[in-house]
Amino acid sequence: MSLVNYLVLSGILFSIGAVTVLVRRNAIVAFMGVELMLNAANLTFVTFARMHGELQGQVIAFFVMVVAATEVVIGLAIIVSIFRTRGSASIDDVNLLKS
């Protein structure tokens, strides 16, 4: 199987992630969209590492996973505190700040 297919897949995943952020109202689901985008990037890294025949890309993927994990920690903390305040995790409910 051609390696390009993996790139196409990662492109699709990235787009799905982006669309999720744009259309889903639940903060957690939107956040999952971001995670999906990060993992699409990971897939790209690993694929290119394979194409170039070296390991750097795979190592980067590990770094990204760690970063994604810390993002989850902080993201959930923020979302939970908002949920406790408002009783809702909808990102459309938080629009007090606007011009």
Partner: protein, 524 residues
């Protein structure tokens, strides 16, 4: 399989970063082991000493770089050169002032919620407030952010840049949500900042992946080397470059990636707003400067339309929207967007002078920004019973402030004049330097727009000055009025520091301009 070769690490060159990050870790331990009573004092002193020490270390490394030239550290992951050290110096100076403002408190209350996890308005929160709980976690968080900022402009590869981006952003997401008053707005700012920030860092990461695919490396210098060999893969390269730049433009708040700026600046605790408005922008521009100057010189033709469009949009939208704002923090937020547009001129110039002008502008802008937000934090509402409540951030509440506290108003006017670029302030020299660099780089149509935008912008800065000095103070029906609190003097020190710097840089800019020029020479 090639054997893993551990990189040579020049620990001496890492001292500024190590001091800051080491202190941050130490502060986490202090949170755990030092009694509550003395914790705040210990944290404050530690933060101030660490930032001062790191500044000294930067000065020392500056001397080394001047004599021996720049060098690659940790196998090229970090770079030690003129722009990196200059940016780090500016960052440390600004965070020094920022930390002073963060640490300041009035009547025993600082700007942060007593317990960030408590539900706003709950009895638990009220009890925590009465018990005098203090969220001293803001200090380690701030220090971690500063650490990330120091690494950001010095990053030699995209992975380091990405990690630094996250290290500086994640604490800021949290800090934005910790405001003592107007908790709902603060939490909202935090959520927005976090979601959009994560969204943009995903773009950055994808761009990084594409560039890796194109060049087989994430080292900036390697990517630059691969640029001329655009054999059929050029769309990979271009898309990657655009995505990475967009990730960075998000951090500097360039249009159309600016939407978070006004909301977050307004919602976040004001000392944090000042810190992040000044320092994040400095760090992100430092990184953008490096990326654009190292990677894209071979792509000028492809990218010029993109960067010109962004610069024009940023200047125009920032200026126009700043005019229609009614909230002080939002006005300053939009003005900071417009300033991002001005700095972009220096980046677009792609010229040695561009580097030095950007570096100078960032210092000038940072000083005025920290000072201005520091003062915003002091202007409070007082209700009919005489209790001091939240900040009086509505523009109308600033009417007639000049008569009540002339020194504060004069300082604020000074910062506004610096924003507006009036001669004898740092902002004028900065604009002058950036515009002349852009003209030298052939971007004169941009300069014309920039001049018009700054002329229009001057109106709303002057409007605020007119409001402060020549308008009668407004009286509200419920007896609320605007007052200026004194705090413990830390903010005053920081503001005076910024004011003196703003004037000095305006009157005698040559030492710093020379410094910035010699920094530009040592770009790796």
């Amino acid at each position: 399989m090639t054997a893993f070769v551990p990189p040579e690490i020049d620990w001496a060159a890492l001292t500024p970063i190590l001091i800051v990050l080491g202190t941050a870790v130490l502060m986490v331990l202090i949170e755990a082991f030092v009694p509550t009573r003395v914790r705040r004092a210990v944290q404050t002193v530690l933060a101030v000493v660490a930032l001062g020490g790191a500044l000294v270390a930067v000065a020392w490394r500056w001397g080394v770089v001047q004599s021996q030239g720049g060098s690659e550290l940790v196998g090229g992951a970090l770079l030690e050169d003129g722009p990196a050290l200059f940016t780090q110096g500016v960052l440390l100076l600004l965070s020094f002032a920022g930390v002073l403002i963060i640490a300041d408190r009035y009547q025993g209350e600082d700007a942060f919620a007593p317990t960030g996890a408590a539900i706003p308005g709950s009895t638990y929160e009220e009890e925590a407030r009465r018990a005098g709980l203090v969220q001293t976690e803001v200090f380690p968080l701030t220090m971690f952010a500063v650490g990330g900022m120091l690494v950001f402009p010095a990053a030699g590869d995209l992975l380091t840049m990405f990690i630094a981006l996250e290290v500086l952003s994640l604490p800021l997401y949290l800090l934005s949500g910790l405001s003592r008053r107007r908790r709902l707005l603060s939490q909202e700012a935090s959520l927005k900042y976090f979601l959009l920030g994560a969204f943009s860092s995903a773009f950055f990461l994808m761009g990084m992946a594409l560039l890796y695919g194109y060049s087989g490396s994430i080292r900036l210098s390697e990517i630059a080397k691969a640029v001329p060999a655009m054999a059929g893969m050029d769309s990979l390269l271009l898309a990657g470059v655009v995505l990475v730049i967009v990730g960075l433009l998000f951090k500097v708040g360039a249009v159309p990636f600016h939407a978070w700026v006004p909301d977050v600046y307004q919602g976040a605790p004001t000392p944090i707003t000042g810190f992040m408005a000044a320092c994040t922008k400095v760090a992100a521009f430092g990184a953008l400067l490096r990326f654009v100057y190292v990677v894209t010189p071979g792509l000028t033709w492809d990218l010029s339309a993109f960067l010109w469009g962004i610069a024009i949009l940023t200047m125009v939208v920032g200026t126009v929207l700043a005019i229609v704002q009614t909230d002080m923090k939002r006005t300053l937020a939009y003005s900071s967007i417009a300033h991002a547009g001005f700095v972009l001129l220096g980046i677009i110039a792609l010229d040695v002078r561009g580097i030095s002008s950007v570096l100078f502008y960032l210092l000038a802008y940072g000083l005025a920004t920290i000072g201005a937000f520091g003062l915003v934090a002091l202007v409070r509402e007082r209700d009919a019973e005489g209790n001091i409540t939240g900040e009086a951030s509505h523009l109308s509440q600033w009417a007639g402030l000049g008569r009540r506290s002339p020194v504060l108003s004069v300082c604020f006017a000074l910062f506004l004049l610096s924003f507006a670029g009036i001669p004898l302030t740092a902002g004028f020299i900065g604009k002058f330097a950036v515009f002349s660099a852009a003209i030298a780089g052939g971007a004169w149509p941009l300069v014309v727009i920039a001049v018009l935008a700054s002329a229009a912008a001057a109106f709303f800065y002057v409007r605020i000055i007119v409001l402060m000095f020549f308008t009668e103070p407004a009286t509200t029906a419920d007896g609320r009025e605007t007052t200026v609190v004194a705090g413990e003097g830390l903010t005053t020190v920081a503001v005076l520091l910024c004011a003196v710097g703003t004037v000095l840089l305006g009157v005698l800019p040559s030492p710093i301009l020379d410094l910035a020029a010699s920094a530009a020479k040592f770009m790796l």
